[in-house]
Each structure stands twice: as C-alpha cells, then as structure tokens.
C-alpha cells in the first residue's frame, strides 16, 4: 500500500471571484514507502500547494489525501496526527527559529506531540547529531548560529518528529555549492538510515539526478510525469516544452548519439557519463 496518495486533489485560489485559479487540479499520485521523490516544476506549477495538502496545512477543495490508506481529514485527531506523520519543512526554514536555545527549538515539534521528557531528549539529540550540529551548539541561542547551522537546526526540528514522510521544499535554496551538497547528502542518508519516504522539491534537474529514486514533474497545476530518473529525463522534448531541461551531461550524450556514436543516452550524472564513455572506448573506469 502506498504510504501517501491523493485522489482527484484540487485546490482553488480566489474562489468565486473572476480571478479564480486552480493551483492544483485533479492530482492523483501514489507514493510507496521508502521512495526518495524529487518534485520538479516552475513557480506557479502547483508544487508548494501540493505539498501543503499532504500534511493538512491546506484543505482540499475537492478530492482526498490518504495517509496509509486513510483520509487525513476524517477527524480532528487524524488531521493532528497527519501533521506529525508527514513532516513538512518549508523554504528558508531558519526564519521560523524562535526558542531560547537550539535544543528547545528542535524540541518544539516533539513537545507538541506530547511525548515524555526522555523521549524528547532522545529525539533532539538524535536529530541534532544527524544534521551535524555539535553538542555545544544545542545550548546556544539559535540566533547566534551561522546561516548554514540555522538551516540544519530547522531541518532537525522537523526530523525530530520522526515523520513517516519527510517533505522538504527547496532545502538548498540560497546555499552555496558546498552547503547544497552537504544538505543533499544529509537527505540521502536520512532516507537510507530510517527507511522513511522523502519528498524533495527542487528547481535543479542536475541536483536531483543522482539522488532520487523517482521524479515527479508538475506543470500548470497537474502532474505531467512521474517515474524514475531514466523514464522522465529521456522525455527531453516534452521537458523543453515545459520550460525545463535535462542536465548538461545528458545533452552531451544525446548530442553524441545524434552524431552517430553508438553510445547510451541514459546518462544523467557526470560520473555516469564518464563510465559510459570509458566503456565505449573499451577502457575500464579506474
């Protein structure tokens, strides 16, 4: 059974006015446990609206959201539970930090879950450790941390809820390449270690190529594509018509094929490209 699904999910903005617009329309998705899904789409494609429905921040105009087969809007209790089972980390999450200490801030989620002190303590330490926040930092004020540390503290705050599904909206926004790589590695490790399902909203086809198990492309309020990296990225013409493109290395190998080389076009990362070309030349990769 998929861990999270939607059926006919629709959300309207400015309903009843001449400006009424469907932010998302008739979305039907099924995400299996343990998947690492990259969600791609332009601003206005509906990505943010969709993910805010998955943990109940937004209520559907039409359709349902199912968590482990059950409608999250069934009862007040189920919607409360959904908030904690589906952990949503917004863009620039460091702007929500507020507590006296980093420890207390990471503990905010677990505290709201009404867990006992020992359990909260265990979770805070586990999450902080996982994102690489040193023990000394836990007692500092979150406002004394560096930008990167703040971001990781905010992500730890959501991870401490130990959600079944972790959703991150552009977790690398505003970070330099080093910071970005660090966060992406973290996300991969999180999913590998905990077996949770992870959804990652991103702008970069290149960033997610080597990272995710599935790619979902949103366009004009609908799901345009959902499949493996190979399935989605091989549909270059469609992607281009949506204003998206494949990674540069994929274009290079497509170009080589066009010029007659009998080489695989299923290349989505530089490392894959290197291996493929060496294979073609008859040399093994070192």
């Amino acid at each position: 059974m998929p861990v999270i699904s939607t059926r006919g999910l629709t959300h309207l903005y400015s309903k009843g006015t001449p400006f009424e617009v469907a932010a998302i329309k008739d979305i039907n998705i099924d995400i299996e446990t343990g998947e690492l899904v990259g969600i791609i789409g332009h601003t206005g494609s509906g990505k943010s609206t969709l993910i805010q429905h998955l943990n109940g921040i937004l209520k559907p105009e039409q359709g349902t959201v199912l968590l482990e087969g059950k409608d999250i809007w069934e009862s007040k209790d189920s919607i409360k539970a959904a908030r904690f089972k589906v952990g949503l980390c917004f863009q620039y999450p460091e702007y929500q930090l507020f507590e006296e200490t980093v420890y207390k801030d990471i503990a905010f989620g677990p505290k709201n879950m009404k867990l006992d002190e020992d359990e909260i303590d265990r979770r805070v330490h586990k999450a902080a450790d996982f994102v690489g926040l040193k023990e000394e930092l836990l007692q500092k004020s979150p406002f004394d941390l560096s930008g990167g540390e703040k971001r990781r503290a905010a992500i730890a705050g959501v991870m401490a809820m130990e959600p079944k599904v972790l959703i991150l909206d552009e977790p690398t926004a505003g970070l330099d390449p080093h910071g970005r790589d660090r966060i992406l590695r973290l996300i991969r490790e999180y999913r590998d270690n905990t077996g949770s399902t992870v959804l990652l909203v991103s702008h970069s086809m290149e960033d997610i190529a080597g990272l995710v198990t599935k790619v979902m492309v949103l366009e004009k309020s609908r799901v345009a594509m959902y499949g493996t990296v190979q399935e989605v990225y091989s549909r270059r013409r469609e992607l281009l018509s949506m204003g998206l493109d494949v990674p540069q290395v994929t274009r290079i190998f497509a170009g080589l094929r066009e010029r007659g080389l009998n080489i695989s076009g299923d290349v989505f990362t530089v490392e894959q490209g290197r291996r493929e070309l060496l294979r073609y030349l008859g040399k093994g990769a070192e």
């Binding site: 332009h42 505003g174 080093h178 540069q248 530089v270 490209g273 290197r274 060496l278």
Partner: protein, 287 residues
C-alpha cells in the same frame, strides 16, 4: 604606491584588508591584502563560497565598509574620505541580495525615483530618467504596481532600474539571484548583460552560481579573503580541481572532460559548454 590609470580603471583596490569582529570578539579576516583593477565597461564576476570574502569585497567598493588597510578608489575617489561618499555612490550603485529589503516605496515608479530625488534632480528630469530606466529593464508596464505583488526577478529588476535612474557608471550586484527561482535568475542575468553590452555600464557581479559567472568577461575567484584565480571564464574554469577544492561548481562539460583526461583520454583543458564537449569527444574518439 602604484599609480592608477584614472581613465581606464573605474574601481581599484590597492592592498586592501578588512577584518570583521565576530560575536565572540574573534577577529575574522574577511579580505586579505587584495589588489585588483576593474576597467570601465568590464563585466566582472566574483565567485566564491560563503565566507570567501566576496560580499565584503562588494561592500568595500562603495564605502559601506572602509578598509582597515590599503585604499579603494572609485573613479579616483578614495572611499575612506567621508566627504566623497556621496559622489562615490553616485558613481557606483549597489543592488542587494534580498529583493524586498531595498524597495522603499509603495509604487514601483516611486521607488525608482527615490535615488534621483535624493540627488536633488529636477522633477521633470526625474520623470524622464525613471521612465527610461524602467523601459531598459523591461518593467515599464508595471510602473504603477505595488512592489509586494511582483515576483523576485521583477523586484530585482526594479532595484536595478532604481540604480540606472541615478545614471551611475558602475553597478555592483551582491548575489542578486541567490533568493530567486531559475526564471528570476535568467531575467536578472539577461537584463544585466544587456546593460553592460549596450550601455557600457561597468558591472561587478558577486555570485556563487557558476552558470552566471561563465557569462562574464572576467571571473575572479575568492577563497578565504584572497583572490586565487583571475581571468576569462575559459581560463578560470579550466582549473577544475582548483575550483572544486574551494567548494564551487564547474560546468558539467568541464568536469567530464577533466575526469576523462585523468583516465587517459586526450581531451582539451578548456571545454566550457555542451557543444565544445561534444566536438572534443568526437575528435578524441576518432583519433
């Protein structure tokens, strides 16, 4: 003291150092003995990881920060001279990273007018400059809109128009696209390139995005306060290992060729984009 060719160089750094004092009273050197000249009409990208000193460099250029040692000259004016700050900022305008925190008016055209108004320009002249500036950045149709209703890319273009209206000879942009989506980044980049190529405005562009730096005339790479690379995009990005070691990206094409060269494939060092990479590989394969 080196003599500065005042006709050619619009910005000159002469052995400039600057140190921050952090929260715990630790002195952090942000810029270490940097010397550099920027010529009129150049489009210079300054690339570096967070903490490399690139933003500090930008702020030293228009007297937001004053060097601890060394001098910064803008069109021959020393930034440490308080009396000249006004004129320095009329020569070098600055666009900041956060699109919202530089817009002061409730209507787009009134915000663009803010700069000229501060300069005491005559009202009819201001009108003309504002209209021209807005047209140059492609935001004329939005002139009566409220800023908070604009996208990030549109806000940044308004900010650029605000500087254009002051008719500065040089625009410094401090990571103007860091908070934007790809569309916004493209808008800003296209606008700035056009202003540089068509109007001859000198551009100093701070960024960590390699795909933006690659479009400049000249790329300067900073690492922990020092300039480690300075040259054309081709020259700089061919140093794949160096760039990666300071936590930056290179184009995938360059990286691919670099790795394959390590595996013994005969490929040139200065491949920058997909087309060049394809041609290079085809040549290597046939050979």
């Amino acid at each position: 003291m080196e003599t500065v060719d005042m006709d050619e160089n619009i910005i000159s750094f002469n052995h400039v150092s600057f140190t921050y004092e952090s929260e715990e009273k630790v002195r952090v050197p942000a810029v270490k003995d940097v010397s550099l000249n920027i010529r009129k009409g150049e489009f210079v990208a300054v690339l570096g990881h967070n903490g490399s000193g690139k933003s500090t460099l930008a702020k030293l250029t228009n007297a937001i920060l004053i060097p601890d040692s060394g001098t910064v000259l803008v069109n021959g004016m020393d930034t440490s001279d308080e009396d000249l700050i006004y004129d320095i900022r009329r020569t070098a305008g600055m666009v900041f990273q956060n699109p919202d925190n530089q817009i002061v008016a409730t209507i787009v055209e009134e915000d663009v007018a803010f700069g000229p108004e501060n300069l005491g320009v005559a009202p009819a002249e201001i009108r003309r400059k504002v209209d021209t500036a807005l047209q140059e950045v492609g935001m004329y149709e939005y002139r009566l809109r409220e800023p908070h209703k604009l996208s990030g890319g549109q806000k940044q273009r308004v900010a650029i128009a605000g500087i254009l209206a002051m008719e500065t000879s040089c625009i410094i942009l401090d990571e103007p696209t860091a908070m934007l989506d790809p569309r916004g980044r493209e808008e800003v980049m296209k606008t700035i390139l056009r202003l540089n190529k068509q109007m001859g405005i000198t551009v100093l562009y701070i960024t960590h995005f390699m795909d933006e730096a690659v479009q400049a005339d000249r790329v300067i790479v900073m690492d922990y306060g020092s300039i480690i690379l300075d040259g054309s995009p081709r020259e700089v990005f061919s140093q794949v290992e160096r760039i990666k070691s300071v936590g930056l990206d290179v184009p995938q094409a360059s990286e691919l060729c670099f790795l394959l060269r390590g595996d013994g494939v005969d490929l040139p060092e200065d491949v920058l984009n997909a087309e060049e990479c394809i041609s290079a590989i085809l040549t290597a394969v046939k050979g």
